[in-house]
């Protein structure tokens, strides 16, 4: 009821933002656990990182509007996520060159 009143009064309550990022995060977890292709796992990781970014920004905006810690955390997280994706895709392409497959199950052939 509180949520409904807040929405009608012209404010979007904080838990709706958190709910959106929650759905995104657990979609990422499901994809991470249920997929075999390494690229799909990387896509799931991107979803999870993005959900964490939304949380940082929303907490900053709603709870500490005069400060900028959450904002800068989100900014640096985006940069680190870009780095991580670049290195991970380089590794995946290298694995594909050696094994002609990007599935997780075939990775233990790399030992031989």
């Amino acid at each position: 009821m509180d949520i409904l009143n807040n929405i009608l009064a012209g404010q979007i309550p904080m838990e709706l933002y958190l709910g959106v990022s929650l759905i995104m995060f657990f979609a990422g977890i499901y994809g991470f656990l249920s997929r075999r292709s390494m690229l799909m796992i990387l896509i799931s990781i991107e979803l999870m990182l993005n959900a964490a970014d939304i949380n940082f920004v929303v907490f900053n905006r709603y709870l500490f509007p005069g400060q900028m810690e959450g904002f800068f955390f989100a900014l640096f997280t985006i940069a680190i996520a870009a780095c991580e994706t670049a290195v991970a895709i380089a590794i995946i392409i290298n694995i594909y060159r050696n094994l002609t497959s990007v599935e997780v199950g075939t990775l233990d052939q790399m030992k031989e």
Binding site: I3, N6, I7, G10, Q11, I12, P13, M14, E15, Y17, L18, G19, V20, L22, I23, M24, F26, A27, G28, I29, Y30, G31, L33, S34, R35, R36, S37, L39, M40, L42, I43, E46, L47, N50, I54, V57, R61, Y62, L63, P65, M68, E69, F71, F72, L75, F76, I78, A79, I80, A82, C83, V87, I89, A90, I93, N94, Y96, R97, V102, E103
Partner: protein
């Protein structure tokens, strides 16, 4: 009222396309759905009043990371081939894990955050303020992380070239 409508449209886009992205059979479709999710997230940042973060999200994620993904998918996938998923038992286990975690976190959020829903009207984040905060060395200023990130980017460029080049 317009703000609410925009928020719910963006929230619906994020919820639907993030679930589609992890359940789709074709990986190129998954990447496209991920792009929609990232763009809608940028919309949320704009709605919260952080214009700079909106621009960064569009440029870095929707621009840079998605191009990398598309390249990697086109380099490693045979066209028209659908992806294999894990065994059904593991998929069910993953689904149960995700739904249980979702229910638990939703419970925690609903019972704890419901008390603090006051949105202060303006975020007033001017570009001058942003630049001073990013380039200052005082407390709550971020020159050191900024430079660390640039070193990390350099190391990442060198590392990616080293790993992915042909020998």
């Amino acid at each position: 009222m317009a703000q609410q409508i925009i928020f719910f449209v963006l929230a619906a886009i994020i919820a639907i396309f993030s679930i589609l992205a992890v359940t789709s059979k074709r990986i190129i479709r998954s990447a496209t759905y991920l792009l929609f999710v990232l763009l809608a997230t940028a919309g949320l940042y704009l709605l919260l009043g952080y214009n700079y973060l909106f621009a960064v999200q569009i440029a870095v994620y929707a621009g840079g990371v998605m191009v990398l993904f598309i390249f990697a998918i086109l380099l490693t996938n045979k066209p028209g081939e659908s992806l294999k998923t894990e065994l059904p038992v593991r998929r069910v286990a993953a689904g149960v894990t995700a739904i249980a975690g979702l229910a638990f976190c939703a419970h925690v959020i609903y019972w704890n955050i419901a008390k603090v829903t006051t949105l202060v009207e303006k975020a007033d984040l001017t570009p001058q303020q942003l630049g001073h905060t990013m380039m200052g060395t005082d407390k709550y200023q971020y020159l050191m992380p900024f430079e660390t990130i640039s070193i990390l980017l350099l190391a990442c460029i060198v590392g990616a070239i080293m790993i992915a080049r042909k020998r």
